[in-house]
C-alpha cells in the first residue's frame, strides 16, 4: 500500500490468507478505499459474516472477504466490536448490493446492527423469535427457552402470530378474524407469542 488509510489496526496472515484488522469507526471508509483505489480494486464482496469467540473477553468480529476480480487477489477485513458496547457498524449495502442479505443474516444470527441498512430485519429466524441471536457463544445449542417452554409457546401461539401483516392482508378469512385482531392489524401491529 502506498498511502495507508487511517483505522487499519494491523495486517497479518493466517494459513496464507491476507488479513487486516480495522477499527469499527473506520471500517466503511477503508472498505470503500479498498474498492475504489486503483491498485487495490477489491470490487467483489465474496462473503460477509461474523465470529464470536469462545473467550468471552474477546471482541466479536465482523468479517468481510473481499476479492479483486482483475488482480485475482483476496483480502479479509476484520472489524472487532467490543461486546460491552452496542454492536454497531456502518452498512456497506450502498457499496455492494450483495451485502443486503448477508448483513441481515449477521444481524439475525449475531445481533450486530448495521447503521444505514435499508431493511434490517431477521432473515432466517421468524420475526417474533424471542430467544436471541443463535450464533452467539452465550446462546445454548438448544436455545434459551426450555424444550417445554418452546412447545408450550408453539401450542399456545395465536394463529396469526406466525403470519406477517402482508400475509394476513391476503387471507380470505380476514373478515372472520376477531374484532380486536383486526384492530391491531389495522394499527400496524404484528402478532405476538403470549
Amino acid at each position: 500500500m502506498t498511502e495507508r488509510p487511517d483505522g487499519v489496526l494491523r495486517a497479518w496472515t493466517s494459513c496464507g490468507d491476507e488479513i487486516i484488522d480495522v477499527s469499527p469507526a473506520a471500517a466503511r471508509g477503508v472498505l470503500q478505499w479498498l474498492r475504489d483505489t486503483p491498485g487495490q480494486e477489491f470490487n467483489y464482496l465474496v462473503d460477509l459474516t461474523a465470529v464470536d469467540y469462545r473467550d468471552p473477553e474477546r471482541p466479536l468480529e465482523v468479517v468481510y472477504n473481499l476479492r479483486s476480480l482483475h488482480r485475482r487477489a483476496d483480502l479479509r477485513v476484520k472489524v472487532p466490536l467490543d461486546k460491552s458496547q452496542p454492536l454497531v457498524v456502518d452498512s456497506v449495502v450502498d457499496l455492494w448490493k450483495g451485502a443486503d442479505w448477508l448483513e441481515r443474516e449477521v444481524y439475525d444470527m449475531f445481533g450486530v446492527t448495521f447503521r444505514g441498512h435499508p431493511d434490517l430485519r431477521r432473515i432466517l429466524m421468524w420475526d417474533t423469535y424471542a430467544e436471541g441471536h443463535p450464533l452467539r457463544k452465550d446462546f445454548p445449542l438448544r436455545g434459551h427457552f426450555t424444550r417445554a417452554e418452546q412447545t408450550r409457546q408453539a401450542l399456545a401461539a395465536n394463529p396469526e402470530a406466525h403470519y406477517s401483516l402482508e400475509e394476513l392482508s391476503l387471507a380470505e378469512a380476514y373478515a372472520e378474524l376477531p374484532e380486536d385482531v383486526r384492530k391491531r392489524l389495522a394499527a400496524g401491529q404484528r402478532g405476538f407469542v403470549p
Binding site: D17, V46, D47, G98, M109, A186
Partner: protein
Amino acid sequence: MSTRTVEWTLATPSVGPDGRQIRVPLGLPSPAPDGGDEFAERMLINLGPQHPATHGVLRLVLELEGERVVRCIPHIGYLHSGFEKLGEYRHYNQIIPLTDRTDYLSPMANNVGLALAAEKLMGITITERCSVLRVIACELSRIISHLVWMGTTGIDLGAFTPFLWTFYERERVYNLQEAWTGARLTTSLTRVGGMMADVPSGWNDQLRDFCRSLPKTLDEVDALFTRNAIWCGRTQGIGAIGKEEAINYSLSGPMLRASGVPYDVRKDAPYLGYDTYDFDVPVGEHGDVYDRYRVRLEEMYQSTRILEQALGRLAGLDGAPLNVSDPRVILPPKSRAMSDMEAMIFHFKQVMEGVPAPPGETYLGIENPKGELGTYFVADGTAKPVRWRIRPPSFINLACLPRLCEGALLSDVIAINASVDIVMGEIDR
C-alpha cells in the same frame, strides 16, 4: 394462490439507523398525481412456500400491477437447521455429514469443499490419487446438479420430455455414487486428509460408459431446447443482469459467467490441480435466463472432458496411496486397530478427541455447481472449530431475485427463479 386487493399501507418492521424499530412501507402507497387511486389496482400474490415451481420452501410475496411485478419480497428460513451452530460442537470430520445436507443436489462437492478447507487449516497435503478422485467427485456433482436444474426448469416452462432424459442420466450417477459411498444422497465421501473409501473395482469402467453416453443425451436436450422458439421466447431477455451489476450483487458460478464475467474458481484460484486439466469455461454475454441455460449446458460437456482426463490419470495411479500417511489424522484400518497397540491408541485418540487444528483461520472457495461454495474456519487449537461458516452460493444468488424480477411478468418470475438454481437446504442451512 390467494389474492386480494390491498386496501391499506402495508409495512414490515425494520431497525432504523439509531437501532430503534421503524416500519418500512411495503408498497408504494403514494397516490397517482392525477388523483387516480393507482394503489388500489395493485395486487399481492403469495407464491409458495408449498409451490412446486419455487424449488423448495421459498415464499415470494409479489406485488403486481396488472401482470407486471412491481416488487418481489422473498421469505426464507423455513428449512433453517442451524448447521453452522451444530458445527461448532463437532470435530472437523464430524462436520462432513452436515455438508451433505446443505446443497443436497451436489453432496460430494460439498464434502470436498469442507475437507479442503480443513486441510488448508491444518497444513495437510493430500495424495495425488486422492485429488484425482476428488476432482471426479466434484465433476459428477456438477453434472447431476445441472441435470436436475435442466429437467426441472424445463418442466417449469412446460417441457416435460427433457426432464425424463436428464433424470435417467442422473439416476446413473446416483448408482455410481451408491457403489462408491454406499449412499445415494448423504455421501459423506471425504475425510480430512483423504477419502472415506476408494472406488470399488470395475467402477472406472462404469464411469467411462457414463462419460460416453452423457454427451448424447445432452445433444438431444440441446436439440430440443437451444433453437426452440417457445424456449427462446420464454428465456431470452428475461431476468437479465449486466456485468457490473452482477459483480456488485456478488453473484457467482453460472449466474456470474452468464453475465459475461469470466471468473471460475477452478481457473482463477485453482485447487485439486484443476490448472493441469484441459477444459474451457463458458461465458455468456446477455446475462439472461437463456445464457444461464447455455452456460450450464456447456459446463456439463466440459465436466465430461475433465472426467475423461481424470479417469486416464486414475489408471496410472493404480495402487498409489489414497490417504495421507499420518496416523494422527487418518484412522488406522480396523484390523490393525484391533491387533496393534499403537494403532489402537491412535484410533482411540482420533475418535475421542478428534484432530486438533492449530489456532488460525482460513477461507477456501471451490467452484460448486451453484456458484462459489466457500468454507471459512476459525480455529483456536482444539479439535472443534470456533466458527464454521458456509458461503452459500445460492443464498447470495437468490438475494438478487427482487432485482431480476422488477418489471417482469408474473409468468417470467417462474423462469427467473428457476434460472437462479437455488437449493433451500443451502439457503436456510
